[in-house]
């Protein structure tokens, strides 16, 4: 069978013309690359109402399934208008192709008709939201149970995996966390310096930098960095293990993925994030101190002695105290999103993104709630 598809073999463009009122003459190359104009012409064709209609196909030089579909559609349309249609003059292989299309016409129309209904789509969205919420609860419950099990017999915890996670998510995050909070300290001090100089209250730079960093900014920056660095890695790692059926393999050995993968990471983060926060505090304040000395003539000794009286211990404790909660949020969201991955590769990307967005979102919500509650209690 010869099915020209290419420019080299492209013949005359496809065309249809009425001759003598009752004969439709089809000519040219009816292939997917050339049949477009004819399809548009046929769609606006004025069919004679009733009577005999002849499709003259001997002029068709090439026909592929695309062309056959167009021709079949025209025949069907004419039949629908009450014409008695005959198709004549087709080359034998073209006739075979037309036959192929007509044999599969009903199945084809069934495919075209199959569209998801609006209500079904809405239902599935609602069902998805509910099931996702329940899955989340189940996951939290499972992790809590695994945690209790480990508390009762600490030998069950994968210490090696936890320590590895501590290194990857804690120690390796030191440079970037340090650099960023140092720069944030510098930025806050610069911005404050402008204002404070106007009032001649240079020494208050200590209060500004100290309280804001220790209480809010350092824990938040550390948490956001860890969410981006480690939360996403948890989701991608667990998700890939799920796609490659490694999680199922673990389950067949009677091992719990929660105990094996979630708990060590969560505990490692709970240890690492407060430590990172303290480290971030130190570097952030140091950054502020440099600018204070440089821009506001507040010497290091003056800064530090003021720091002792102005910044109460509770600010530091509140900041560091929030960190373990941030850590739990980040680890849970990251691992949960990993377990939610079902399909293939694009799911891994989607859930990794979601893990970062959701954990940062939840961290900030939690932080805001803390601020409100602590304000009530005058802390």
């Amino acid at each position: 069978m010869d099915l020209p598809h290419t420019t080299e073999t492209r013949g005359q463009a496809a065309a249809v013309t009425f001759v003598e009122g009752r004969t439709l003459r089809c000519r040219g190359s009816w292939t997917m690359s050339d049949v477009g104009p004819v399809e548009r012409a046929l769609r606006v064709m004025e069919w004679p109402a009733g009577g005999a209609l002849r499709f003259e196909g001997s002029g068709i030089q090439a026909l592929d399934t695309g062309g056959a579909v167009v021709l079949s559609q025209a025949v069907m349309e004419a039949r629908r208008r009450g014409c008695e249609v005959t198709v004549e003059g087709l080359q034998s292989e073209h006739a075979q192709l037309m036959n192929l299309v007509s044999v599969h016409w009903d199945a084809m129309m069934a495919h075209v008709a199959a569209r998801p209904k609006g209500t079904a789509r809405l239902q599935s969205i609602i069902r998805n939201v509910i099931s996702r919420f329940l899955c989340g609860l189940e996951f939290i419950g499972e992790t809590a149970m695994a945690f209790l099990r480990v508390c009762s017999s600490p030998g069950h915890l994968r210490w090696r995996s936890a320590l590895n996670s501590l290194r990857l998510d804690g120690v390796n995050a030191l440079p970037i966390t340090g650099l960023l909070t140092f720069l944030i300290g510098v930025v806050i001090a610069y911005q404050g310096a402008e204002q404070l100089r106007k009032f001649g209250t240079n020494i208050f730079i200590v209060d500004l930098v100290g309280i804001s960093l220790l209480r809010e900014i350092a824990p938040l920056i550390a948490a956001i960095l860890i969410a981006g660095r480690s939360g996403s890695a948890y989701a991608a790692h667990i998700g890939t293990m799920k796609v490659t059926e490694e999680l199922d393999a673990l389950r067949t050995f009677g091992l719990s993925p929660t105990e094996l993968l979630v708990l060590p990471r969560m505990l490692a983060l709970v240890v690492a994030l407060p430590l990172l926060t303290v480290y971030a505090d130190v570097l952030g304040v140091f950054g502020g101190m440099l600018i204070a000395a440089n821009q506001l003539n507040v010497s290091f000794t003056a800064f530090l002695s003021r720091f002792e009286e102005a910044v109460a211990l509770r600010h530091f404790l509140i900041g560091v105290g929030k960190a373990p909660f941030f850590a739990v949020i980040i680890a849970l969201v990251g691992c949960y999103q990993g377990f939610q991955i079902r399909g293939g590769v694009d799911d891994v990307g989607r859930h990794t993104t979601m893990s970062v967005v959701q954990s940062i979102f939840l961290v900030i919500i939690f932080d805001a709630l803390c601020s409100i509650m602590l304000n009530w209690w005058d802390l």
Partner: protein, 268 residues
């Protein structure tokens, strides 16, 4: 069994192709020719470079030496993405389907039509529906995502995508691997039907001895970097080469052959 209707026009000519991955030599001076209208299989043990050869023919890899001509053009041209007219003359079905997971099945099948033709959306929808019907998928499958389909259905969908442009040449990478015997046999029939209906030349990489006996016109057996033998299954089964004998006369090979000759005589 297919009636060989090939003309003597070569559509693929692989000549003196050598392939190396670092120090590993995969092919040495491999040459073979595929004629228009035949079902040609590349067979051989695991790791003998079957899929690599296929990837070289379709231009995804460049051989270290030698040349491959595909439909009269050098297959290296395919590495330029604008080699459009050549790209639309062949279809490839990858081993695991390689369906785009972010698209529904119908959207997957429509990709080549959308990219290579200027047909209206309605006509594209109809052609896609025809091709999905041709490969025997149920009507509600078009709106599903690949992850919602079973392995066999995914394979069919990938086949629908490979034939959507009515290619002259169809490449199948292990089309029946991992399918149950019934579905695998159905898939073989499907390939034969499509070949007959659409006038395809089919090149497949396969291990499936049943497929080799049932639908393949000629086979090239690769091994140790060379083409160990090439010919019809009957010719190869009668070959004296020990490597070929091992391949076709293992317990499974004999069973497939018996099965085939039994069926053939039954049919006569």
């Amino acid at each position: 069994m297919s009636i060989a209707v090939h003309t003597e026009t070569p559509v693929i000519e692989v000549s003196h192709v050598s392939t190396r991955f670092g120090p590993t030599v995969v092919h040495q001076e491999v040459s073979l020719t595929v004629m228009k209208g035949e079902v040609f299989a590349i067979a051989g043990g695991n790791g003998c470079g079957k899929s690599t050869l296929l990837r070289e023919i379709i231009g995804l890899l460049t051989p270290a030496a030698g040349s491959i001509s595909l439909l009269g053009a050098d297959s290296r041209e395919l590495q330029h993405t604008d080699g459009g007219s050549l790209h639309r003359r062949f279809g490839v079905m990858f081993q695991h389907g390689a369906l785009f997971s972010s698209m529904t099945l119908a959207e997957n099948v429509a990709v080549p039509l959308r990219e290579h033709t200027s047909l209206s959306a309605g006509l594209i929808r109809d052609i896609v529906a025809l091709k999905i019907a041709l490969v025997g998928l149920p009507p509600d499958s078009g709106v599903k995502f690949p992850r919602e389909l079973s392995g066999g259905m995914r394979r069919r969908a990938a086949l629908a995508r490979a034939i959507v442009m009515d290619p002259e040449l169809l490449f199948l990478d292990e089309p029946t691997a991992g399918l149950d015997p019934m579905i695998a046999a159905g898939f073989d029939d499907l390939v034969l039907d499509l070949k007959r209906l659409l006038g395809l030349t089919v090149v497949m990489v396969t291990h499936d001895l049943d497929s080799l006996w049932r639908i393949v016109d000629r086979v090239a057996v690769l091994g140790e970097g060379h083409v160990l033998g090439m010919g019809t299954m009957e010719q190869l089964a009668a070959s004296e080469d020990p490597a070929i004998r091992n391949y076709f006369h293992g317990p499974r090979g004999r069973a497939a052959q018996l099965n085939h000759s039994g069926r053939a005589s039954h049919r006569d």
